[in-house]
Symmetry: C2
Subunit: 284 residues, 2 copies
């Protein structure tokens, strides 16, 4: 399908990201509908003009007319939804998602999917500490990365379509990675950093230190406020890559501890110089 303005787009799971997609696509003139099991979510979205139509069940009238379907579900629920409801989708529909892990879902879904619809996976790397459609805002896409993770099962047309979606949503950088490359990257840059922030908050009861914290500590632990249901599922789905990244970090941190214990100043300074040099590549 092309991105023509009379396309009908259906969002399954209207949370922070799904809601932000809905707002952005409505503003571009598309017909946007949504399915979410929470009646309050659908009522809020209809009342606030975020969607044109909505349902708390997989309404055949919505599923059967959508040219594109965007999935904003947790990995387990996503796979279950496809298994149970894919027969209701319109022939020729294009499916994509916003899931933060890829290898554990893409192959399984592409294998079970009807041959007359196509699933092209994507990860919009945007978010905030708050969740829910009430906090959705397409502004979170500005300056952010959007990663398409095609497999050999995907058609060039679907890959182009999915990249176009990222562009019209307003993402700054559109790139492609294999599902495995994506998961290694996310394991390091996102999941490992969340594990570190959580461990820092749970390793000691530091409420009495709150008065002394500076910006460094606040920056380091901002992501320690975490949706436990979502993140525990994402961690499990990416278990092996994340364990590898955790082990890399553990070995390095333990080595740094050893240098301090041995008072090996030259080696400590060398680590710090390497850190400083590498960090310079990450400045915006």
């Amino acid at each position: 399908m092309q991105w023509i303005s009379d396309s009908s787009i259906l969002i399954i799971g209207l949370g922070l990201i799904g809601g932000s997609y809905a707002k952005a696509l409505k503003a571009l003139g598309f017909h946007v509908s949504a399915v979410d099991t929470d009646p309050d979510t659908i009522a809020y979205a209809l009342e606030n003009g975020i969607i044109d139509r909505g349902s708390t069940t997989p309404d055949p009238a919505l599923l059967g007319t959508a040219d594109a379907v965007i999935f904003g579900l947790y990995p387990g629920v996503f796979k279950q939804w496809i298994a149970e409801n894919q027969h209701l989708l319109k022939s020729g529909a294009m499916l994509t998602d916003v899931t933060g892990v890829k290898a554990c879902i893409v192959d399984e879904i592409q294998t079970m999917l009807r041959p007359d619809v196509e699933f092209i996976a994507a990860h919009p790397m945007a978010g905030r500490e708050l969740s829910g459609v009430e906090n959705s805002d397409p502004a979170i896409f500005r300056g952010a990365n959007y990663i398409v993770t095609p497999t050999e099962r995907n058609t060039p047309a679907a890959i182009d379509w999915c990249k176009s979606l990222g562009r019209i949503l307003g993402f700054a950088n559109i790139s492609t990675l294999s599902p495995t490359e994506h998961d290694e990257m996310i394991g390091f840059l996102s999941q490992l950093t969340h594990c570190i922030a959580v461990s820092l908050m749970t390793c000691t009861d530091l409420r009495h230190l709150a008065a002394y914290t500076g910006d460094s500590f606040r920056d380091l632990t901002r992501i320690a406020r975490i949706n436990d249901r979502m993140w525990s599922e994402l961690f499990l789905c990416n278990k092996e890559p994340l364990l590898r990244q955790m082990d890399l970090f553990l070995a390095e941190f333990t080595a740094l501890r050893g240098l301090l214990a041995a008072e090996d100043i030259p080696a400590l300074r060398e680590k710090m110089r390497l850190s400083t040099e590498r960090r310079a590549h990450f400045d915006k």
Copy 2:
């Protein structure tokens, strides 16, 4: 001494913090002079009106007339400076410092100090990634913590004087801790977090990932750009408390890894909920 506007203040070591003190105190009308071994630093400070007088050596004319002396030196150099030059100080002078570790210097300096001058230690918890007098700016004190670390050797008058200094410099919160309490707190909130950021940057060569980094990773590693000479010395000076904090974190991170490996979702979620609850106390 009181904070009267004709007091003469001498800053030893005119770096980022010393320079920011100089600018703030000059603006308040004090006579400010400085000693720094770097001729460019002194020339820059004189040319830009940051100080009234300056020297690259412990000039007896400056040392002998200062009512207050503020030390912005690394711990080892600081102790050596006192041993070599304290005989040149004016009788009755009040000494303070800006050093980021306390137990390793306060006792030693108070023990060797002439009985007619007093050293009251303080830690202005302010800084930025850039160093040097050229980057000094008293605005870094706004909203920041200033901690006085008195011992039983200090007089109530000196403690009050030192707190007043924090107030007139513009710090938001003035508090007192013992040197040992201070070092435990700094070991956790500042030094441990720097060790984590450095380890995260050095554990893998991640330059190819720069395109995918979001704000979380940038926030977490901002402090990975680190002055290796200063921080390695501060780590060594606070070795035992820092090793204790590193071990606490290591044990907790290893436990989190174990929960993931065992796929213990309820325990993983419990850690995340505790983290989220605790982090809420740290919001500004």
